[in-house]
Subunit: 225 residues, 2 copies
DNA sequence: TTTCCACAGATTGTCGACAATCAGGATTCG
DNA sequence: CGAATCCTGATTGTCGACAATCTGTGGAAA
């Protein structure tokens, strides 16, 4: 699992994870008000730990707070997502370039196997794309891990990753790009295997631009309604 | 001021800002344990708001927490800073490229005046470089603002910016690179004025690489002792 | 002397209650 | 009839006390 699992944690940590999950999956709507007493009740804890969790989530920009008026789930409008994809392009592009020099042969081979599993899954169940979306994030995160840059892993693995997942859950019911995406993934792995960082970066940037192109259009149509 | 000013805020927000400031300026040493009761006493508030502040700071990665063992100030070792500068290079490079197409002529002119003030300040007081360091961050942040990318502004303006300032306070007592840095800044402004995004990006990346080169050496020497 | 255990002090985690502030509706005055 | 005002219910902000957990110190047994 990509989300850290709260084993023997504090209540506030549990609340943080549960809230983050609910926000990302859309169970809590964007912009929805978060009532402390109600949530504390639902999670079976006092308001103290819950407030700490909200503060934590505020720090990672999943919720917005205004003093004396409570916390609300962040809203991902078109501009925000556009900014997000631009940042991703720069960051994951760099991650790709570095990963080409840092990943072990074995890691790259694992990446290839991951794509094999994706392909099998796509052929078997054309409809259920949720798994593919999560798998896509897996792919991207493995490459970021390959860059050996902890800060990058934090940025893309914790914060932006959550926003991306939010975006996925919001748009997954519509269009799919699994076919071309998988092929692009394969090209990237090939470039990594050849240790061609520059090419890997270019392919990754193009891949993310393409993803934004398709998602941006979808959102535009959605907002028109 | 680049740091948001707590006007009529909650106690937890005040604590967040005071702690962030103390951490960034080095008043609180890296890795130092943060005792809740002691800090609450010093700030004249209960432990509740202080704990919320710690959770907020944890969210923005200025402190590290381990359950039942308290919070500690984050430590910036050589590897972390190296990662930070790599991320900055990608992010600010992109910001520069976009800013070249988005900034108004007036904003670019303001940028030039900012550098004039820096130059005057450097000539007047060769020693007091703290102001120049803050000014340098101002310069970088203005360009990020010019990219009109809110997420970029958040990333570089809030979180990484704090880590950078920490780094500055730690290393400012040693070497200076104000001369070459200023000249590179001027080149960047010139590229922006010509609306040459590609060149601006290249110059910015080179500028940040140079900064890392000099700071990395300094840290290596420091760690040897 | 060394190692293990138990105890005490300190620190963190949690809860419930109270104060401060805000939102919405009824009331009253122009 | 409309707008400003006050009141009331609800929600957030804060505090103090108590429970759970960790740390390190001292003593007893091998």
């Amino acid at each position: 699992m990509l989300i850290s699992t709260p084993k023997q944690d504090t209540l506030a940590d549990i609340a943080t994870h549960r809230l983050a999950h609910s926000i990302v999956t859309g169970e809590l709507e964007q912009g929805q008000k978060l009532n402390e007493a109600e949530l504390a009740e639902r999670f079976g804890m006092g308001r103290g730990p819950l407030r700490e969790a909200l503060r934590h989530l505020e720090g990672m920009r999943l919720v917005t707070r205004v003093p004396n008026a409570g916390a609300r789930v962040v809203v991902l409008d078109r501009k925000t997502l556009s900014d997000l994809y631009a940042v991703r392009e720069a960051l994951e592009g760099m991650a790709c370039r570095i990963a080409a020099t840092q990943m072990t042969d074995d890691e790259i081979a694992q990446l290839g196997k991951l794509l094999d599993r994706h392909e099998a899954q796509i052929k078997k169940q054309g409809g259920k794309v949720y798994a593919q979306s999560e798998g896509d994030l897996d792919f991207h995160f493995q490459i970021v891990r390959g860059s050996r840059n902890q800060m990058l892993m934090n940025l893309l693995g914790s914060e932006q990753y959550q926003l991306l997942r939010m975006c996925r859950y919001r748009t997954s019911r519509n269009a799919q790009r699994t076919g071309p995406a998988l092929q692009q993934h394969r090209q990237i792995v090939a470039a990594l295997a050849q240790r061609d960082g520059e090419l890997a970066e270019i392919l990754m940037r193009r891949h993310i631009q393409g993803a934004w192109h398709s998602i941006g259009e979808m959102i535009a149509k959605e907002e028109a309604a």
